[in-house]
Symmetry: D2
Subunit: 345 residues, 4 copies
Amino acid sequence: MGKKKIGIIGATGYTGSELVRILTNHPEVEISLITSESRAGELFSDVHPFLQGIADQKLVSVDRIDEFELDLVFLALPHGISMDFVKRFKDKNFKIIDLSGDFRLSSSEVYEEWYQIDHLYPEGIKQAVFGSPELFYDDIKNARLIANPGCFPTSAILGLAPLLSAKLIETEPIIIDSKTGVTGAGIKAKTVNLYSNVNDNFKAYGLKNHRHTIEIQGISDRIAGQNTLIQFTPHLLPVDRGILTTIYARPTGETDEISLRKEYEKFYANAPFVRLRKQAPAIKDVRGTNYCDLFVTYDARTNMVIVISVIDNLIKGAAGQAVQNMNIMFGLDETSGLNLIPLNP
Amino acid sequence: MGKKKIGIIGATGYTGSELVRILTNHPEVEISLITSESRAGELFSDVHPFLQGIADQKLVSVDRIDEFELDLVFLALPHGISMDFVKRFKDKNFKIIDLSGDFRLSSSEVYEEWYQIDHLYPEGIKQAVFGSPELFYDDIKNARLIANPGCFPTSAILGLAPLLSAKLIETEPIIIDSKTGVTGAGIKAKTVNLYSNVNDNFKAYGLKNHRHTIEIQGISDRIAGQNTLIQFTPHLLPVDRGILTTIYARPTGETDEISLRKEYEKFYANAPFVRLRKQAPAIKDVRGTNYCDLFVTYDARTNMVIVISVIDNLIKGAAGQAVQNMNIMFGLDETSGLNLIPLNP
Amino acid sequence: MGKKKIGIIGATGYTGSELVRILTNHPEVEISLITSESRAGELFSDVHPFLQGIADQKLVSVDRIDEFELDLVFLALPHGISMDFVKRFKDKNFKIIDLSGDFRLSSSEVYEEWYQIDHLYPEGIKQAVFGSPELFYDDIKNARLIANPGCFPTSAILGLAPLLSAKLIETEPIIIDSKTGVTGAGIKAKTVNLYSNVNDNFKAYGLKNHRHTIEIQGISDRIAGQNTLIQFTPHLLPVDRGILTTIYARPTGETDEISLRKEYEKFYANAPFVRLRKQAPAIKDVRGTNYCDLFVTYDARTNMVIVISVIDNLIKGAAGQAVQNMNIMFGLDETSGLNLIPLNP
Amino acid sequence: MGKKKIGIIGATGYTGSELVRILTNHPEVEISLITSESRAGELFSDVHPFLQGIADQKLVSVDRIDEFELDLVFLALPHGISMDFVKRFKDKNFKIIDLSGDFRLSSSEVYEEWYQIDHLYPEGIKQAVFGSPELFYDDIKNARLIANPGCFPTSAILGLAPLLSAKLIETEPIIIDSKTGVTGAGIKAKTVNLYSNVNDNFKAYGLKNHRHTIEIQGISDRIAGQNTLIQFTPHLLPVDRGILTTIYARPTGETDEISLRKEYEKFYANAPFVRLRKQAPAIKDVRGTNYCDLFVTYDARTNMVIVISVIDNLIKGAAGQAVQNMNIMFGLDETSGLNLIPLNP
């Protein structure tokens, strides 16, 4: 059996370049197609010169997709654009992993409220499986369309899931204070990611209404089997990659650190990319990898549970988790092509 | 009337160099003495070469302090050492501003529990005034010994005070998630402030037991007139200077953003260094200055109050606030010598 | 005699905000006018929120300039635009300091060759005085139009001048390897100053044809009284501010370190902003100030002279040097308003 | 035939952790032994927590080395210490790759002059092969002891070799202006690599007498077949990894850019890790990889050749080049285990 044939729709962003970086060394797939409308005809390494000699594929327009036999397509596109392509590809034979936010929420109504644009393909929301392998492995295995989780939701949900699943914490509200690297804002030059606005600086943004709030809350509801209320505040770190999320919640009953840790060990016993840490982890501990490092503790003085969660937003928070989903969909080893080791320092 | 004569005890740290930086341009004081035991005989600018031509005073041993007529002495020393000097200076004619943590807590018992060392001068704790000018202006005016507030407590307490004072929030617990620049860890080379451990990195530390927890809680108790329970988590930012504190609390009754803002405007009507902002501030907005920028908001969806507070940890969080206290003790304009403008970018 | 009245043309860039930062605390001038076409009607602190409460002047269109009585105008505009305003203001009563590159070169022909645009006001080139106070103090005193030096040229020329003036080095070629902070590229978001393209990165740019090459060479020719040939290579540092320039040249005769240092001391005996250092300086040693720190040495093994020069590109390389020129033009103390102390760390 | 068995002497530094990072995914070798005297008994991942679950080998004292059958040993030790072990291992059956500077120079006399310590094993200098695969492939193949090149020399020599080999440049002097990341200073906390001394900062160091000067000059002499005189100035960048070297030299005769590029293409036709670039490369283009990216140009105006060279100092400048040498010594494909892709951003 030959290698699986992969298409990547959207080449110019970080998600695209990370997918190529990971898939280039993947032993069981090959990249057959990379599309770009703005840079068609150029090489992928013209767009990302650090990949010269590594990824010199010619970019083509998505209009030529039928010339390629594809087993699976990654959509590395902005939200709002992505749903249009999912709709357009609805009768194709390939599987789809959408890295945008277009199919992650519970309904088109919720989407329209938080994204403030119309949803073009509500049918897709019903079909899509939320691609969090640690939570929905079996659904992913049989899915045709994956809504790959957002970066903040990945860090928050993996930190919360054992607590919610075992009903160990009160759920209204849960405080989620997240700090992200700049690549979360994308590759386009904007005031927000101008070097001198970020360097030696730090700020909160998107207070009260960041779109990932509802994504976290929606999945938390499902895991908990009850309503949750998520207070989510993102902050912008002067680093390229990485998210650290600090979670605060009230325990529902008596608890202590040891029993909490056991709960996490049990919950993630079969999760190759979750590392339970004995100390609070740092974002560089997972840089360049698909790991989510977790630390849970309990403060008896205040009766609060605190969880620290770190990921690389471009990998476990985007391209790496997408490849993990692909592996599961193809029946491959979940870790295939993802034996990445942290670049530290 | 001539200029006031100032002594600085401890020259090698950041607190010392910041005091000199600020006092050098202060129109109403002069630095008569800078002490150092390890570098006595050298120039201040030998220790801090960027001050060549600006602060070339010769360093002398503290043993020679009686040779100088001093109006006020700043102690720029580590905790544990500082209390020894306060004791030693107890019968001197000069006023004292102690920048360490030795006299900030409510009793020697509390100190010994959180600092894990014996307190050598409990009498000093009783005499000391907590040097937060926005809260205790009148006490500062008449004080002989000031316990200059810690950096995290300054950012947290200024953010909380209007809420606590007007009993607008529930006080058990209050979530205080702080992020600080590296200079908070001091000037000595350690693993924690090694460049490659900090750069492009981010982590939490001191969970549950950081000493500033009890300092914040002690002052919060006083302002609120009731018990508070502070959940304080510091994190280490890859920046030199600056603290951003994000505060989460439940309102005690009905509230909204406009009324909260009015409360802050009223509370800080006479505070020249508190700036109320219309947007969430960034740490570079106050870099190099004595400002504390505050932003308060209310999330109706979750029924939570959120406050963002930023300061320069070395200035409003240390040397600048100390000079502000000095101005008040001398009956000078509170802002004298402190008309610093943010260095941004 | 009242304070001098100042206008600043162009408010949105770093040069504008630095001028305001410096002039706000200047004891002998006042800012009467700040213009902006794109933001007219807003406050200066709306454009630069860190200046809230410090610089809340209302921005007006330059078309209203005649409503103001002005003693001097700073042009904080891009090259190509600036010359148009110099021409337009040619019969006004106020003096002009132009911070762009439009009037720094020896002729409109040279300008057009290196800037690749037509020069609209060649007459201005003849009138303009190159605003390097350490070299042309007397000319500046009597000038009506100052061409404020470029940032790289300032660092290079101050490093070279004593050598060229005393004919101590061979002049064809002189190697000038410069490294600059990102603010040199301006405040507009571009790919080149996108955070993730700069952070943890470093690169050369503008090899062989950077415009500052000819500015350095033109002034070097004048100081040396003979032809020079400048090999200039700028590099982009992951820092906000600062230029470090490393200069390599062959001595014309026998030399040694001591005699070279004496030459520098003599040359800069009356220069309050040049600090001769005993060790190689770092850019943070001058951050936020108008200093140029210099270090000169001689390598007997290779028979080469090496000079290290550091400045803050936004201050001594732009706004600070402009204010220094203004002081000289007004007959004030050269250092008035410029007693800035390095922000370090 | 089984996997080759590898020992790593010295576990606590960056060189040790990088070797482990690379060798863990190498298909044809296995790590049999990692030694540490200070941390014996602990796990490798206790020393480097980011490798938890990836490299959990127990550290043992080097005294137990005879318990292990080893094919090759890497010495990841400081200079001065390393030569002692080479001497101690002189009759062992395993090959040795020494990553220190102890065996890179032409004689013990030269070593003692530049390193200012006695050489304990001059015999080793005679046996050692300088491990630059692009230059000495055949010697490496048959070597028992490799002196792995220094980081600066790797970047400089790869940039210069085609010019020197074809006698295209004058050799007295050659200007080599290098800029390095902080990891070059090692993992121990020192004033020089304290975060706040490096961040937002930049400086030159080691002017005229850095030890890599003579290493570069010694190899340059060999390649050129004549005396060279190297003017080498290192500078410290606020980045973790990466070296960019800018080289200036006079051509010996007429030249132009096209013919220079052809010379480089010919010289590196069989070098899998040298990438010739059409634009000046940036250090992040090679971060995390064994690549050396080169750009050569000619300035007709000044008659100078300019070369830009970038490497990751910890990989091509240390551990990666060491593994490349190991591959050659074992007769493996030179690139085995080294298919690393740049982490960018």
